[in-house]
């Protein structure tokens, strides 16, 4: 099998079929490989997803040289978490892992220079913390702060990937790595140390190389015979948690994880909620677009999402770092905070230029223990924003009210989810009149149920939509024109707005302010259980009755959006 595809400028495009998208582990491994090669071999190395699917590294290395580099030169980033019980630094923790660590730091090889310095600081931190704290939490916070302040530079990325130190409440965990580098009760750092030992200090280098070849090029059938390195749910939704894994897969993926360390501008950004500090991580909004979640959802709790960028032009590691440190997903002047808005940010081109798509993964917590990461969707970046994108801002406030509303009936909450889903589909499928009409239908559903509680505070009637909805949602059908014609009976000249017949609302004739009506049945005659035609007849009847005192103004002979039966 020929892996070398193109030779350009003495640089070699090396396709790495061991790294496939739509799998978290593989994605991270791809980033890790680029990081390692850039830092250890070729500063101008580039990486890209060919056709969005195949990871290619463009560098001076061919296949054999790449294998040789990782086997003999690659210096694994030191990753230790002395704040954890089983990290190998705390007394009473699991000692087997400490022996792997001891082996690594007693190696003469310069490959592990950084490790010695990091372990020295880690030990000092734990020793000096000693017994001077009454509360375990205070002790942990002291060690964390101490590590952030004193760790050698090489070990800081790991720290910033698993914690953000806040001014107010000490440390916060991102959703990514369980709590501070623990997956359930499983210590990730120690597992990595075991992996490094298996890969680089293996008594059988041939075995390690076989694993490596498999990890990078998927060339041999995986024969994972190591007894030490296990996977974590974060990397792999399929494997049941803590299955054995190819140690190279784990080690390289951990290198990739470091790119998700929160950058200073994010950590110090306004608010610095724990999610916002980390790139491309958002709250999941209900179940929008995620019907594909594998496993039993009932037992899983969503802990947020991560959206990983896919790019097709060769990019240097510098550029990838910049991309990650910014984690741009902007919509209407703010960063996307949930999955629906992330999809909107993508469709509104509020992401770094040059990204062709995002893979969307959900973090799910199982039984309060370990977490899994499931691939949910791929959302391509369009070449132009859907034309109606700006209309959707009208829904921001009502959507937010429904999402955050504490005491709303479950029916409205669940219709709110359907609305979220329709907005998500609109963004993902590049808009279109049908998609926008679908959103309008969902809005109407919510509105109908909101009309039952009529709570101005919790959920006022939807109003003040921009005119552009009329234009953008028009699919040219007779039904739409008919609907538009009816909807544009807005109640000029003393007449009632037709909304007052359709819903329990009052519309101020002058300001057009819409409020829930205080009396349940005034002009409101629509009955959802009846045939629409009968309903329309009832409306006409009602308006005729009313029109006596309104001097006929209540029966419109003309509306702004009038429909004719001509060109059907």
């Amino acid at each position: 099998m020929v892996k070398t595809l193109v030779m350009s400028n003495k640089r070699i495009d090396l396709a790495m079929d061991g790294c496939v998208p739509r799998e978290m582990l593989s994605y991270l491994k791809a980033l890790g490989v680029l990081k390692a090669i850039t830092e250890g071999k070729d500063k101008s190395a580039q990486g890209f997803w060919m056709d969005g699917d195949r990871w290619v590294v463009r560098s001076v290395l061919d296949m054999d040289e790449a294998l040789d580099f990782f086997m003999n030169e690659y210096q694994p980033t030191p990753i230790v978490s002395p704040w954890n019980k089983d990290s190998g630094f705390q007394s009473g923790g699991e000692l087997a892992k400490a022996s792997a660590l001891n082996r690594i730091i007693s190696e003469e090889s310069p490959r592990f220079n950084d490790w010695r310095a990091v372990c020295h600081e880690a030990r000092r931190a734990v020793e000096e913390a000693g017994g001077r704290f009454d509360k375990a939490e205070d002790r942990k916070n002291w060690i964390l702060r101490r590590c952030r302040n004193r760790f050698p530079d090489a070990a800081l990325e790991w720290f910033d990937a698993v914690f953000v130190l806040t001014d107010e409440s000490g440390a916060k965990d991102p959703p990514l790595f369980g709590s501070g580098g623990n997956d359930g009760r499983f210590e990730i750092g120690a597992n990595y140390v075991a992996g490094v030992e298996q890969c680089l200090l293996n008594r059988s280098p041939a075995q390690s190389e076989e694993w490596l070849e498999n990890a990078l090029f998927a060339s041999k059938s995986p024969s994972v015979k190591n007894r030490k390195v296990r996977t974590v749910g974060f990397f792999d939704a399929e494997a049941s948690s803590h299955d054995l894994i190819n140690p190279w897969d784990f080690v390289l993926a951990m290198e990739g994880v470091l790119l998700f360390a929160g950058s200073a501008s994010r950590r110090l950004g306004a608010g610095a909620r724990s999610y916002a500090a980390f790139p491309f991580m958002v709250n999941s909004s209900a179940s929008a677009g995620s019907q594909t979640v594998s496993g039993d959802e009932s037992a899983s709790k969503s802990k947020g999402e991560i959206w990983t960028p896919v790019w097709e032009n060769p990019a240097s590691f510098r550029e990838v770092k910049l991309l990650m440190s910014e984690g741009r997903a902007e919509i209407g002047g703010r960063q996307a905070e949930n999955s629906v808005d992330f999809a909107r940010a993508i469709s509104g081109l509020g992401v770094t230029r040059g990204i062709s798509a995002f893979d969307r993964y959900g973090f799910l917590e199982r039984n309060g223990q370990s977490r899994i990461t499931a691939w949910l969707d791929r959302v391509p970046v369009p070449s132009a924003p859907p034309s109606a994108s700006n209309a959707l801002f009208d829904l921001d406030r009502p959507r937010q009210r429904i999402r955050n509303g504490k005491n709303l009936p479950a029916s409205i909450k669940s219709l709110g989810n359907r609305l979220e889903e329709s907005v998500y589909q609109f963004a993902k499928n590049r808009g279109g009149a049908a998609s926008l009409q679908d959103i309008l239908l969902r809005v109407a559903e919510v509105e109908r149920y909101a009309g039952k509680i009529r709570d101005e505070e919790k959920l006022p009637p939807m109003s003040r939509f921009q005119k552009r909805w009329e234009r953008e949602a028009d699919d040219g059908s007779a039904e739409f024109r008919l609907a538009l014609s009816l909807a544009s009976i807005v109640g000029d000249g003393g007449a009632l707005s037709i909304r007052e017949n359709l819903e329990p609302v009052t519309v101020d004739g002058k300001t057009k302010t819409v409020k829930w009506s205080k009396e349940p049945r005034g002009a409101f005659v629509w009955n959802a259980l009846k045939d629409p035609l009968l309903n329309m007849a009832a409306i006409l009847e009602r308006r005729c009755v009313d029109s006596g005192r309104l001097e006929g103004a209540n029966i419109p002979r003309w509306t702004e959006g009038g429909a004719r039966a001509l060109n059907t």
Partner: protein, 653 residues
């Protein structure tokens, strides 16, 4: 040498604590110096005011103590730990003196009547009383200091009593005979002791007096941590009745304790923070945790006349950015109090205004949106400040605004270019380019950079020469000419004259001419070899306004808007644009320049081409030079531009 720094604090991962010859200590000859020994051995007798306890009337008791023990002709300093208490102590001292005066005058009046003489009572002297804390406008605070003995103003026969907060701990070179202080962490106590009989001035009269008030209890320690003030109180008790001279304090250096590790700025953080794109596009990076170690976050306020209506509706756009003199530092939490204060009759609701840099307008914000370090504009008619007292949310009397310095520029926004339209008369592009190059050369030469680093010098000078080439873009020239397209053969301008200048055509909003300039360097600066040096020069041209640096990306159009897809920072995305050749003076012409904003702004290099994106180039320059050197060169380029522009203004008729 500082009494309040422990050498061990200097020990960080990037810098191990100095030792051996790296530490400069005082030697015997130094100690023998009279001036030094007078300071080191200055007598400051310590006593605890045990009979003054907290609770109601506390401030009056402190005030009475200050008045009673004050000696005419000297300075008495009272330092308390909160602004509120400082104000109360000040009021009580003032009140006490007034009462005393009245009693004395009444007594004198009786005596006068009895003796028919004017003599009695005239001999009584009343000290001046002043209040000083951090919640004053910079200008007002400076005025108070100027008149006070705190800044060396001569004392009259009565002397002066100052009620202050820790604001006087540092940077005030005053010497009080009597210093009354609440307990504070040890390093603060050392600072405060330093303000008592500073140079031993009072040694002939028995030395300085340092009276401290114990507030080391759970409820009274704030804003300090109980532990740290307890420790400090313990040390102070050890000095009871003795002198806490600097020499005596040296033995207490250990009490400064281990550095409290809170947040250390790491290399990684510095490099991250170099890229300010997030802030440029409306984000906000709060670095205060690295600047100050207390938890109080504060912002600044300043007052302007709204011209009626209370909400600046009439005069909003006319408000220029505040000068330092106008600002008062205010805790973030006070904004809520300011807004929710009960509205008196005849006043309207208060509001907060900040400058939105991205959109270029003043915008109204809620108290929850105030970010540390920002400047917030308040309506002068709606109060919040008392002359002589400082920031005060419950006062509604009109504030007399400090006249802002009338600089030549207005507010800077992302889309504005005040330096291009603010000149007195038009300046051609070639004149301005050469002018900036000359200024850059002068700065480089004054700093001795030109001789030592010829390649860097060439890069900076090239950046200076090319920095405005992008202004040749027809959209910009039309803008400079007040909306009229330039005629053929008309020389391109760098600056418009008075009154000229219009808004740039709407689809080119956010147009940044620096992008064209940087591309011109990359493509046409043949004096520099392609690669490193040319990239550096291009970066310096790109960053000369500080608005486009590492990333080329669309800026937010504010809430609820998606930026148009066809233009990015004012350049067409679909098709590369080209800039006409530019005459750079002295016979040099910059040939046509291509601006392909689409591929420059994209991550990754275009397929099959070895072209690099702007961000790849810029981050490489940063990696190579590091943040400090690069910032330094940015500053030189920027300063050269400012200086040349200033000269253009002054040389104009």
């Amino acid at each position: 040498m500082s009494a309040t720094v422990s050498p061990q604090w200097l020990d960080t991962p990037d810098h191990s604590s100095p030792w051996g010859d790296d530490v400069l200590n005082l030697n015997d000859a130094d100690f023998a110096d009279k001036r030094l020994s007078a300071r080191r051995n200055a007598v400051k007798t310590v006593s605890e005011a045990k009979d003054i306890q907290g609770g109601s009337g506390y401030e009056k008791r402190v005030a009475d103590l200050a008045r009673e023990r004050h000696r005419p002709g000297t300075l008495t300093l009272v330092i308390v730990n909160t602004v509120d208490r400082a104000r109360k102590v000040f009021d009580e001292i003032t009140k006490g003196i007034k009462t005393e005066k009245r009693i004395v005058e009444r007594a004198a009046g009786k005596r006068k009547a009895a003796q028919g003489s004017l003599l009695a009572g005239d001999g009584v002297l009343y000290p001046r009383v002043r209040l000083l804390h951090s919640r004053f406008r910079v200008k007002d605070r400076a005025a108070i200091l100027r008149e006070s003995a705190l800044s060396g103003a001569p004392l009259d026969a009565a002397g002066e009593i100052v009620a202050a907060t820790q604001a006087v701990e540092a940077g005030v070179d005053a010497s009080a005979r009597l210093l009354i202080s609440e307990i504070a962490p040890w390093s603060s106590m050392v600072q405060r002791l330093g303000r008592c009989s500073r140079a031993g001035e009072f040694d002939p009269d028995g030395g300085g007096e340092f009276v401290w008030l114990n507030r080391a209890t759970k409820n009274e320690a704030a804003p300090y941590e109980l532990k740290s003030v307890e420790k400090s109180a313990e040390i102070m008790r050890g000095f009871e009745g003795k002198s806490a001279s600097p020499a005596a304090l040296e033995s207490q250096r250990d009490a400064l304790g281990e550095a409290e590790y809170v947040h250390i700025l790491r290399r990684r953080d510095v490099i991250d923070a170099f890229d300010n794109s997030a802030d440029l596009s409306g984000g906000y990076t709060d670095i205060s945790r690295y600047v100050r170690n207390d938890d109080d976050k504060s912002a600044f306020v300043f007052w302007r006349n709204s011209g009626g209506g209370g909400d600046f509706s009439e005069s909003l756009s006319g408000q220029i950015s505040p000068s330092r003199d106008e600002l008062v530092s205010v805790p973030i939490g006070d904004f809520k109090k300011y807004l929710s204060a009960k509205i008196p009759k005849g006043k309207t609701a208060r509001s907060l205004w900040v400058w939105d840099f991205v959109v270029g307008v003043w915008k109204k914000i809620g108290d929850g949106e105030v970010r540390p370090g920002t400047s917030v504009m308040l309506d002068a008619q709606l109060g919040g400040y008392l002359e002589g007292k400082g920031w005060n949310v419950s006062d509604w009397s009109a504030v007399n605004p400090v006249e802002p310095e009338r600089g030549e520029i207005g507010n800077d926004g992302h889309e504005s270019d005040p330096y291009s339209v603010g000149a007195r008369s038009a300046v051609t592009l070639s004149d301005h380019s050469r002018g900036v190059e000359r200024e850059a050369a002068a700065i480089l030469s004054a700093l001795g950079i030109d001789e030592k680093y010829p390649a860097t010098t060439e890069a900076v000078k090239t950046a200076a020469l090319f920095h405005d080439v992008g202004k040749v873009h027809p959209a910009f020239q039309t803008m400079l000419r007040g909306g009229e397209e330039p005629n053929d053969g008309e020389e391109p301008l760098a600056k418009s004259g008075v009154g000229a200048g219009a808004r740039i055509e709407s689809e080119r909003r956010q147009f940044r001419h620096e992008i064209g300039s940087a591309m011109a360097v990359l493509q046409n600066a043949d004096n520099l070899a392609e690669g490193n040096w040319r990239d550096l020069a291009a970066y310096l041209a790109m960053s000369h306004h500080g608005k486009v640096r590492i990333r080329l990306q669309p800026l937010s159009r504010g809430a609820n808007a998606i930026p148009p897809k066809d233009f990015l920072l004012g350049y067409g995305v679909e098709l590369a644009e080209s800039l006409k050749p530019v005459d750079l003076g002295e016979g040099l012409e910059c040939p046509e320049t291509r601006v392909d904003i689409s591929s420059e702004s994209r991550m990754g290099s275009a397929d099959g081409v070895e072209e690099r994106s702007w961000q790849d180039r810029a981050t490489e320059v940063l990696e190579r030079l590091g943040p400090f050197l690069l910032t330094f060169l940015e500053a030189i380029t920027r300063a050269a531009d400012r200086r040349a522009s200033a000269k253009e203004r002054s040389e104009c008729p």
